[in-house]
């Protein structure tokens, strides 16, 4: 049913429909509205879950790890410094192969302190073994949670997943969302069937230590599982499309790429603005297209290389920076395109909430046409 609601509330509602048995989170801007809403649902007996209040984010994810190991479907949400505080537990959750779902309302990392949006927080955890989805709008932000549970809990995957959506820009925006009903979600998402669980009658330990004889192979197995998730995501996304009419069978989305000379690669909400900018540029005769990355982990290298194969140049827009190198997406796109002569130019945009407008996209395309790239776009020279 179409309804107009705030992004955070839409996410909270769909998460409740996924029937988590344990929720543990610590409020932090701009994620707070999600867990506030879930806490209220639990308090009002509208959601039959244990809501574990904790003193910080490390405890929140640790509680989720315990609950997931005990065989519960669990949920958490955080952002920025909160996610950073979870760092070690993130690796544990993946290593123990626990299908925890966590929303990330993407926000910049301090210092300097910023409550505004970029994607540095979750990008910095790209090596942790979590699957990473990035939503363009609140429709995707809600749908992807349901798909994430299905994929993460698949016994050929068994990995935690982050559903990332831009803080404020999506989390605090009211817009129409076609909400699935409880019946819809129940039809699509089976009950959690843990692979193994903690049981006092049949004791077991998770994430035991591995000596150098074994650790190497354990990491190989986790990497295989992350890669295997790609196929499971495509299958689950297709099934979602068959049931509800919104297709998620691809880890990327191509927009007007058919004859594009300049291909933009980007992630998240900025892609909406990019699509509008592309329509305007197309109307004035510029052949520009977009390859939007919806799943960053596993990284869809093959799909991206295929989508970019005919482009004359590629402009990769990153709302993050691997300091001392490039934006994370650009590094990965270059890897995907290794051996091809196509110039790949990187533009760091929109850090810490800097607004990105249609005219910025047009300016970036003009820079790419001149071969100028690998830069922080739109620096205010007067303050440097």
């Amino acid at each position: 049913m179409m309804k107009i609601t705030e992004g955070s509330h839409a996410v909270a509602e769909i998460v409740a429909f996924c029937r988590p048995q344990v929720v543990s989170a610590y409020p932090i801007t701009p994620q707070t509205h999600i867990v506030e809403a879930l806490a209220e649902m639990v308090a009002d007996c509208k959601l039959d879950a244990e809501y574990i209040t904790v003193e910080n984010e490390l405890s929140a994810l640790s509680a989720c790890i315990g609950a997931s190991a005990a065989g519960s479907r669990v949920y958490s949400a955080t952002t920025s410094q909160g996610l950073a505080l979870m760092y070690e537990a993130c690796f544990n959750a993946a290593g123990m192969r626990l299908p925890i779902i966590m929303s990330i309302a993407n926000r910049a990392m301090g210092a300097p302190l910023s409550i505004w949006n970029d994607q540095q927080d979750s990008i910095s955890l790209r090596d942790s073994g979590w699957l990473q989805f990035y939503a363009e709008d609140n429709q995707e932000a809600t749908d992807l949670h349901v798909i994430a549970y299905k994929v993460a809990e698949d016994h050929s995957v068994l990995l935690p997943a982050m559903v990332c959506f831009d803080g404020f820009i999506l989390s605090h925006t009211y817009e129409p969302v076609d909400m699935l009903s409880q019946e819809d979600v129940d039809k699509y998402l089976p009950k959690f069937n843990p692979y193994e669980k903690l049981d006092a009658a049949d004791p077991i330990s998770f994430g035991m230590y591995a000596t150098p004889d074994y650790y190497h192979e354990f990491r190989y197995e986790i990497d295989n599982a992350v890669k295997r998730a790609g196929g499971v995501i495509k299958k689950a996304g297709k099934e979602f499309g068959t049931m509800f009419g919104r297709d998620y069978s691809s880890m990327t989305e191509e927009y007007r790429m058919e004859d594009a000379d300049t291909a933009i690669v980007a992630m998240g909400s900025v892609c909406g603005t990019i699509k509008d900018a592309i329509d305007e540029m197309r109307a004035s005769g510029k052949k520009v297209g977009l390859v939007r990355i919806r799943v960053f982990r596993p990284f869809p290298s093959g799909d991206i290389a295929k989508a970019l194969s005919k482009a004359k140049r590629v402009a990769v827009l990153d709302k993050n920076i691997s300091l001392g190198a490039k934006g994370a997406t650009a590094i990965e796109v270059k890897d995907a395109m290794y051996g091809k002569a196509t110039p790949i130019l990187n533009y760091i945009i929109g850090l810490g909430g800097r607004d990105v407008r249609k005219r910025d996209i047009a300016a970036i395309v003009a820079l790419a046409e001149k071969g100028e790239g690998d830069m922080f776009y739109g620096l205010r020279k007067e303050v440097l």
């Binding site: 701009p30 605090h172 817009e175 129409p176 603005t273």
Partner: protein
Amino acid sequence: MRELRIHGRGGQGSVTAAELIAVAAFEGGVYAQAFPAFGVERRGAPVQAFVRFDDKKIRKRSQVYEPDYIIVQDSTLIKDVNVFLGVKKGGIVIVNTEKAPDYKVPDGVKLITIDATNIALKTLGVPITNTTLMGAFAAASGEIKFAALENALKRRFKGEMGTKNIAAAKQAFDVVKGAA
């Protein structure tokens, strides 16, 4: 696509106004998007909120720079902030003031002034003008039907609060309609 920018001060309910206008527009079959200019929310600090209206899905995520409509919740802001910046020709500016304007809106832009503070004080007992100005916006812009606004207010403010806020909005709606 039409765009609205609301200028106010922290605590005056600009964000709520944007949300409820979007809700009312959606009820009227319009695709609407509402969001705040994500600042540091302190009471009294200048704040902005935005609404977009379109017949098709809105994909654009940047802030509003060239609005069709502007609501100024507090005329003292005009000294501090360039509230008329970027307003489109043929656009409408609604300013809450009791005084005759000592400023000029850009050429080709319609200025509507309304003493929303007085209406709010008399109807609600508090100088919170957002709901009053929503009524003025409905009348001036035609983007939202009053009945839809009434429903949105009823859902957000329960009981007597709802009734009072609807009365304030209605009074402003009638004042602006009568002046037109």
